[in-house]
Symmetry: C3
Subunit: 332 residues, 3 copies
């Protein structure tokens, strides 16, 4: 971790936090409560870890007013300590700087327009008609295909595929192995065979979107697949063709969204959720992990269908009785 050192007083002023403790104390890195040493700043945002407050060796802790009295260290108080921590961590650990320029072992087409402040790493392929904005970082082994556009300050980690014509906004982060703009799964029956339906749309990704490792987003069949501003997608998510995902929706890993489903704004979707196709999901919907969403959801709120694990012998009996529920029963 690259680090910078700052005083608590400076942090309190910069981020508008209430400091209780010596403003001259200095911190240079973040740490968890149990593993912190002098010079580290920690945080408490999950009550599960409150028991470490009294014994931490951190120099300072970011926490809420209610937790402050229980802390052995100097405290920086905020009503949203996790957010305050995020900002302090970004300040202390700014991440590696990159040098602008195109690596000698990258292949950039003559007709691609790459900002002089962008960095294109080794083994990349940038095809004709691509536009890459200012201060963009394209990591090793990425492939950016014909006519794709990447907005200012976006960052692609390693081995990302950006398909032809895909547009990515500003300040996005795309993790390794993600594929943006693969063909949607569209086939027409011809007797017993399947005939491919050409997938001619694009993918349009807004600003401040983060896309996880090995996540796949299919291009639209005719119109675009749309990921709006501020959406956060975890790893190994599958987004089908013509899906739209509204602003600031966050989706956890391994979730799959079938074609033409529209998810609203500010939704929170758990891991391994499956959405059927052609659904409409309202704004502000939460879906807990491991849930099948097979019908549209018109009202905000929380939805579930996951059954928690049970000792196997007990579960076998449950399944046996569940099966009986499905048999025709004249009394019901």
């Amino acid at each position: 971790m690259q680090t910078d050192e700052h005083s608590l007083g400076e942090l309190a002023v910069r981020f508008g936090l209430c400091l209780r403790g010596d403003p001259g104390l200095r911190v240079s890195r973040v740490a968890t409560l149990p593993n912190a040493a002098a010079g580290a700043i920690s945080f408490l945002a999950n009550s599960r870890y409150r028991r470490h407050l009294g014994t931490t060796s951190a120099t300072a802790v970011v926490l809420s007013e209610a937790d402050a009295p229980h802390c052995a260290a100097a405290v920086l108080i905020d009503s949203n300590p996790y957010l305050a921590y995020a900002r302090i961590a970004a300040l202390l650990h700014p991440g590696p700087a990159f040098e602008p320029g195109v690596h000698a072992a990258a292949v950039v087409a003559a007709g691609a327009r790459v900002s002089s402040s962008a960095a294109i790493a080794a083994q990349c392929v940038i095809e004709e008609g691509v536009e890459i904005g200012a201060r963009v970082s394209v990591g090793p082994g990425c492939v950016i295909q014909r006519g794709a556009r990447i907005g200012d300050d976006s960052r692609l980690l390693a081995r990302v595929t950006v398909g032809a014509g895909v547009r990515i906004g500003a300040r996005c982060i795309v993790h390794s192995g993600a594929v943006l703009g693969s063909d949607g799964f569209g086939f027409a029956r011809d007797g017993e065979a399947w005939i491919k339906v050409p997938q001619l749309g694009g993918v349009c990704i807004g600003d401040d979107v983060e896309i996880g490792a090995n996540t796949t987003i299919d291009r639209g069949s005719i119109d675009d697949t749309v990921i709006e501003n501020g959406v956060k997608l975890d790893n190994q998510i599958q987004v089908g063709h013509n899906v739209s995902i509204g602003e600031h929706t966050a989706i956890a890993a391994c979730t799959g969204i079938s074609g033409s489903t529209s998810i609203g704004r500010r939704c929170m979707i758990g891991g391994m959720v499956g959405f059927a196709g052609h659904l409409s999901i309202a704004d502000d919907v939460a879906v807990t992990g491991f849930t099948l969403v097979s019908a549209s959801i018109r009202e905000s709120g929380s939805y579930s269908a996951g059954i928690p694990a049970t000792p196997t012998p007990e579960w076998r009996r449950t399944v046996a009785r569940l099966r009986r529920l499905g048999r025709r029963d004249p009394r019901s």
Copy 2:
């Protein structure tokens, strides 16, 4: 989108469609019913979108006889309008042509046999003993390992891995990030440790197979994993070692198939379905999304086990009562 222009009369003749409207009208691109403008051809194959028929600005619409009277535009009628649309779309949007040849930044082993009509893109690696057929396109960053074979007219998008000895038939499409021929998950217990069982079989993929982005297909442990002609696999599917999938079966995204399971012909498997190992699934089986298949299926038909999402408080009560079903109860 690259496009060609054709008259409705020409389309009707070429694809055997019934035209109602001016045969001299010309179309150059496809569009959805609500977003079409003059010069575009659209289609109706899902009754969900029938409401747009009366107001579309498309020059022509492909649809069924029953829907024809409700359409504001010229119509091309077929009993399978989605199939007719697929063919027209492929004609209007033929996709980018590729130039045969091996890119200077590809690495091709001396002993590989690459057809002179094939195209090998930048940053590819083609190892010893590989055979690549006529008019094959291997996209940027693909790795084709020792002795693999790729049949005529197949197309690998970007960053595909084809493992040693894997055989791919003719006219296949493999999307970015797919891995064909990874080791199966085979280990023998040795006390508390696991000893690797060498995975020595291959992967044999027929003709006209399509494989989605980031899908993985393991090589057989001794004999081959087999994907028959015309199979269509969506993104992020996992196919275990020694699985076989019969002709013209289509499988939606995120489904996992455990080792040695055999799936029949013309099956339609939904997304996020899980198959246990060593099963036998009959021909013409449909499995709806989010279903666990833990036993062989001997009869064609539709099978399910997914529970649709419910408001969370109601679901919690359901789970509580479900649990009671599994407790021993002398009255049951």
Copy 3:
């Protein structure tokens, strides 16, 4: 398959097996019972295949004492025939040798330390500060980022991403498309937007670990994500930030483990299992496939929640009655 030839007597002595048959018989390759020909050695470890024992054309079969009398061929007897088979297969099919050295089309930073006995394939990128141990094989298209370390005798197949600072032990195998060290999914709410929480920890992988194709392992948010010695992960598994997985645990494909969950030693986790975050799973726990684990498991044993597929009409009735269970009912 590359092969070596050995006599049954030699195999019996080398692996401590009981031979019934001519010790001078020679085998050069493995085969399944039904597909074996002379010169092949087969095995029986799953009673499902016992019917082939009497008719196999294999020269020899590895099996248990109880199965020996039923076999048409020479037999090599062991109480763990699958383990004995694994060792014989590794002897007969040692896998391709690799030539040490760095391919001319790999990009290796000046400050990387690569053992002279390691092999770095074409199109790899090895960044500054990386350490690669003796006899390591890094396959085509891999990206090893700043400061990562790979222990002796480990093998990375093709297109693997090893993120900055990730440590991999000795004798590990990492399959194509795997991503080790992607950012965890950490965001803090700021009004309706999400602010990224820097992901500053690493990934620490022990010795003898195998990681499947397109599996993703996130780096810790502050401390490390930990995969202990001997863990086996199948394809397309997602491991969230700060997860720990204990020694010799094996996890089947498509399973997802949410952040900060700790799984014990010697666990056996089925495919497509979903773990919620911040859980603690005991040693020696088995979870059957397609199960949601949403609470900690304190006792070893087997746990389940998967419902097997049923004909769809019957299942619809089951779901309808299940729903009634969740409605408020004053009589219950």
